[in-house]
Amino acid sequence: MSGMYSKKVMEHFRNPRNMGKIKDADGVGTVGNPVCGDVMTIYIKIKDNKISDIKFQTFGCAAALATSSMITEIAKGKTLEEALEITRNDVADELDGLPPIKMHCSNLAADALHEAIKDYYKKRGKK
């Protein structure tokens, strides 16, 4: 089964980057549905309009875990505007591709990041 995944996917699956929670996160985004088998939460800290820290928690297959790990690497240090431009395809490309069947339901990391940023804007707006 691992044969359907790129080396990079397996590497991120085995050694996920930035896994865990940020307790005092400035934005939190959760996407997916346990019924479908994938749920992702992205936590972000914002400093000077940039993502200063980012962590993830994911329930899902190797593709879901690897895309979560990868997006934290891509997004860290980026401005919010840059981060909002990261697409699902960018994440898949950085992982040297995903099996076609995983592109739709397991490649949710970009959505989770965007949700976290929206959450940040919302919270900030309320202040």
């Binding site: 691992s2 896994m19 865990g20 019924v35 479908c36 994911t58």
Partner: protein, 395 residues
């Protein structure tokens, strides 16, 4: 790293004795069993002997065995073969065929295909252990019912069905009874006469034989339409030059299974129970299927808060080959129809893991799995927002 294979429900290694039995039939005794010269005779003899060995394992007679290319073909042949003989019944109310919700796709998809052609199919529910509801079966039978197809044992959760009872009901109602025994064969004794079985599908590669060979037992007096037409091999029921090396291997595998069935079942049950007891020590872990009415080699679990594919790949990194019947497994994304039928909600069904043991597994291997698994589960749970949520709820 040492590799441990615990996915025997998927396929088994070919036994060395089986390989040795097959070898002469590739380049020495390569004749076509239909030819009348000595090469053909060699092949024909091998075919008959193998047929006898397969028949013996299920207490059938030689002439009741038709060789096929595998379990899926046997299921297709049995169900379509009987249905096509009963096409005149399509206009009647039905149900024409009664099967269960937890059948292998080889049966389920064949039934769905027949449904499109107008046949009416009843899919019986099962209880929380996966046992077919007998009352519902009896209630479902109508005068239009011509076939009952219920698996001998389930491929995912290992539950063994009350085959004898079902066979009795089928006989009383004069309905043909087919059972998919692909997982049961070699693990539990099967007697087609005592269980009133009319049609039974088996496969070679699940019992240490080669892939690409199977058989359909067709009891005396049962008539069905062939689905493969041609030169009239296998009494006209399954045309195509017989796969002699494969069939010889299958025959040998059946012979070995018959001599070892009791010993194997006892040994595997002991390993299985050790594994079950060890794994259930893990917090929020559950056994799927029946505690005792289950295949000697099957242990099927679910773990709250984690997903099966991640589990399987993590185990694979530690040298252990297991399987998941859940989403993302193989190439399907839907969670298991079997777990849905026993009432496991999709969220929990995703966290399922199947170990299916075999002759070559040892106590030490079981201990290794019990050692390694808790840390894998813990690691994946640490990553999981669902587990997080659950822990918060309790703390």
């Amino acid at each position: 790293m040492k590799r441990i294979y615990m996915d025997h429900a998927a396929t088994t290694p070919v036994d060395k004795e089986v390989v040795n039995a097959m070898l002469p039939y590739f380049s020495q005794k390569y004749g076509n069993a239909s030819s009348i010269h000595s090469f053909g005779m060699d092949a024909f003899e091998a075919l008959s002997e193998s047929r006898k060995k397969v028949a013996d394992l299920i207490h059938a007679r030689e002439q009741e065995i038709i060789f096929t290319a595998g379990g899926t073909e046997s299921d297709n042949m049995a169900i379509k073969g009987i249905a096509y003989n009963n096409k005149d019944k399509i206009s009647l109310d039905g149900p024409h065929i009664i099967t269960s919700e937890i059948e292998h796709p080889a049966v389920l998809e064949t039934c769905r295909y027949l449904e499109k052609q107008g046949f009416k199919i009843k899919y019986l529910p099962v209880d929380k252990y996966g046992i077919v509801n007998i009352d519902e079966l009896e209630k479902s039978i109508s005068k239009d019912t011509f076939l009952i197809s219920i698996m001998y044992a389930n491929n995912e959760i290992g539950t063994i069905e009350p085959i004898k009872e079902i066979g009795h009901i089928a006989k009383e109602n004069d309905i043909v009874f087919h059972t998919d025994a692909v997982q049961a064969i070699g693990k539990t004794p099967i007697d087609v006469n005592k269980s009133n079985i009319d049609l039974l599908s088996i496969s070679s590669h699940k019992i240490y034989g080669p892939k690409g060979v199977g058989a359909l037992f067709i009891g005396e007096g049962i008539r069905l339409q062939p689905i493969i037409h041609g030169g009239g091999h296998e009494r006209g029921l399954r045309s195509s030059t017989e796969n002699i090396p494969g069939i010889v291997g299958f025959g040998k595998a059946c012979e070995l299974a018959e001599t070892r069935i009791e010993k194997d079942a006892k040994y595997l049950t002991q390993l299985r129970d050790k594994l079950i007891n060890g794994v259930l020590e893990i917090e929020e872990s559950y056994l799927n299927g029946h505690p005792t009415k289950r295949l000697a080699n099957n242990a099927h679990f679910r773990f709250t808060g984690i997903e099966g594919e991640s589990l399987v790949l993590s185990l694979s990194d530690r040298g252990i080959a297991a399987a998941t019947g859940s989403a993302c497994s193989s190439k399907k994304l839907k969670s298991s129809h079997v777990l849905a039928a026993i009432g496991v909600d999709p969220e929990h069904a995703h966290g399922s893991l199947r170990f299916s043991l075999g002759r070559e597994n040892t106590e030490e291997e079981i201990s290794y799995v019990i050692d390694v698994l808790p840390s894998i589960v813990e690691r994946l749970r640490k990553m999981s927002p669902l587990w997080n949520k659950m822990e918060n709820k309790y703390s």
